[in-house]
Symmetry: C2
Subunit: 341 residues, 2 copies
């Protein structure tokens, strides 16, 4: 019998259609192969990209080779840095100029390595680049939120094979973050506790959906996963802002993230996936006080959400906002825990 499960964080129902129960081998995947002859993200091609915004490079001048991680503006940005935030009504609609920032984090000089293939030290460098760019962008008060995400594989929306993540600063709080922030505030107001902390404790006690526990982090498949093999990576202790993580936190996060990515790659044979960093909005002030969204920031619990792109979102999902998941999260956790890592 199928089950409907309510996600109290996202405030939506998902349908766990167990009678369509699907195992890893049922998700046919074509492996992407790279057909590029020249890649702008490779060593020696630094002049084919806009000037870098940040790099981890032991020696040598900016925009030359010898870097480990490199951050550049996106050549085809969704939103532009230049301009003023203007907004107006248009009939019953509203329209706002597309101000923001769109950056690319090149995770490795090696064209053929995915994030899962990097060493934990190399992944820690990537995380440090994330942190550096988040801290820099929050100085621009036009940006209300920074969206840090990765598309891996063509079916997950990646247009370049060379491993990279993206960072988009947006002039509005995204709806998904808005819902989570409000949920955290409401829960905290009535209970003086964080809803994520409570859910993480519940999951650790049950163990059914835990993939791997570390000293500071835990990876798990959420009870109300909206798609198969969905994963979350949580700091076990309350922390609202990823960008305030220390170097030792990032070093352990790199271990936990690599573990999660390697398990996924083994069990589902390098599936396309997206991950996104969910973190608190930057602290902005209005008339000398934190503005509305900033005032909610401390109640938030940052984490990473990962979704492999294994099923097609069709008319039902798009038209209703309900999601159909053919693999029970408990089964997904078992497969991932048992991975021969």
């Amino acid at each position: 019998m199928s089950e409907l499960r309510w996600d109290p964080l996202k405030q939506h129902w998902v349908i766990i259609a167990t009678e369509r129960g699907r195992r890893p081998q049922d998700f046919h995947q074509e492996t992407d192969s790279c057909t590029m002859t020249s890649c702008p993200f490779c060593y020696g091609n630094e002049d084919k990209t806009p000037h870098e915004l940040f790099a981890i490079r032991p020696s040598g001048p900016p925009n030359g080779p010898n870097w480990k991680v490199r951050v550049i503006p996106n050549k085809y940005p969704v939103l532009r840095v230049e301009g003023e935030l203007k907004s107006r009504a248009y009939g019953l609609y509203d329209v706002m100029e597309g101000i923001g920032a769109h950056e690319v984090i090149i995770e490795t000089p090696d064209h053929h390595k995915g994030l899962a293939d990097l060493s934990t030290a190399e992944i820690a460098n990537v995380l440090q680049a994330y942190r550096a760019r988040l801290l820099d962008l929050r100085q621009d008060f036009r940006f209300r939120y920074m969206v840090l995400f990765k598309n891996h594989g063509t079916r997950a929306g990646a247009t370049l094979h060379h491993s990279h993540s993206q960072l988009i600063a947006v002039p509005l709080i995204p709806p998904v973050a808005a819902t989570e922030l409000k949920v955290c505030r409401d829960y905290f107001s009535s209970k003086e506790r964080c809803i994520y902390c409570d859910l993480i404790r519940f999951e650790l006690e049950s163990g059914e959906r835990v993939v791997k526990e570390f000293a500071k982090f835990v990876s798990l498949t959420p009870y109300a996963s909206s798609s198969p093999f969905e994963l979350r990576l949580y700091p076990k202790h309350h922390a609202h802002d990823f960008a305030l993580s220390g170097d030792s936190d990032l070093a352990e996060l790199a271990v936990a993230l690599k573990d999660m990515l390697v398990r996924l790659k083994l069990v589902l044979k390098d599936p396309p996936f997206n991950f996104i960093l969910h973190t608190a909005p930057p602290m902005h002030q209005r008339l000398g006080k934190p503005d509305y969204w900033s005032s909610l920031a401390y109640d938030y619990h940052w984490h990473i959400e990962l979704v492999p792109r294994l099923t097609q979102v069709a008319g039902f999902e798009w038209g209703t906002g309900f999601y159909i998941n053919p693999t029970a999260p408990e089964d997904a956790a078992t497969f991932l825990r048992d991975a021969n890592i």
Copy 2:
């Protein structure tokens, strides 16, 4: 410069990324070809499907050939009719048994014809089947909403090539419908007018996004389209419930729907698409009075939403709830209006 546009109906922002401006020929599509040797939806294979629930058949017994439209239960239902609606808490989560109905509307006996290829009389038959099943299912008070949708093409989630639509009765109001119903009620409460009626009048006066106007219906590309070549088909006069449409309404709707589908097929070379019927929830009572959602029904304005599957939803969209649309709706409307139909 990109623009952010606010959709007052869906209560979300979309990013119209005009600098990525894409024209019809930029959307590469692989045409699906059918590789089936035997199709359960074809004439003569009626015994390969569950017993029919409804059919339009000029002569002959049920479950034989000679039908024009045939409705059957889905062999692999997402939700099941049998059982009781049981719901319970699980930690901070909730879980509900997967009760519902899942039906398939086979739109034509011809394996190789899409909905756009049918005559308007044949399309009117399909619409009559929709109406008949919606009216029948609302007699079951466990079902709070009926989701009627079509997946056309593999990339839009269709698993069988033979042209069909689906109907899923769900035990909860879907989030998308809930938002629209609340928006309509709020608007009506303050203005004594329907927000859809006002938006349709605005669009007809502007004309910029109108594709084709008929006596009773109009097709248009919404101002805040979340993806390229998105379309709406609206009744021009207020009507909350598709299932209360008369035969003459359905006859004209068939003309308008065919017009929209043929334009889409010509301009984008038979793209994969999803459409979904947005209509009011059935009128259910609780303690002798309409329940909450039923009480909102009259303020709603039914319509059809269609989205071609031309772009990949990636990390940014999934993680934020913002959508990036690389084709301005005004340009899409021009291409569709100019189709050589």
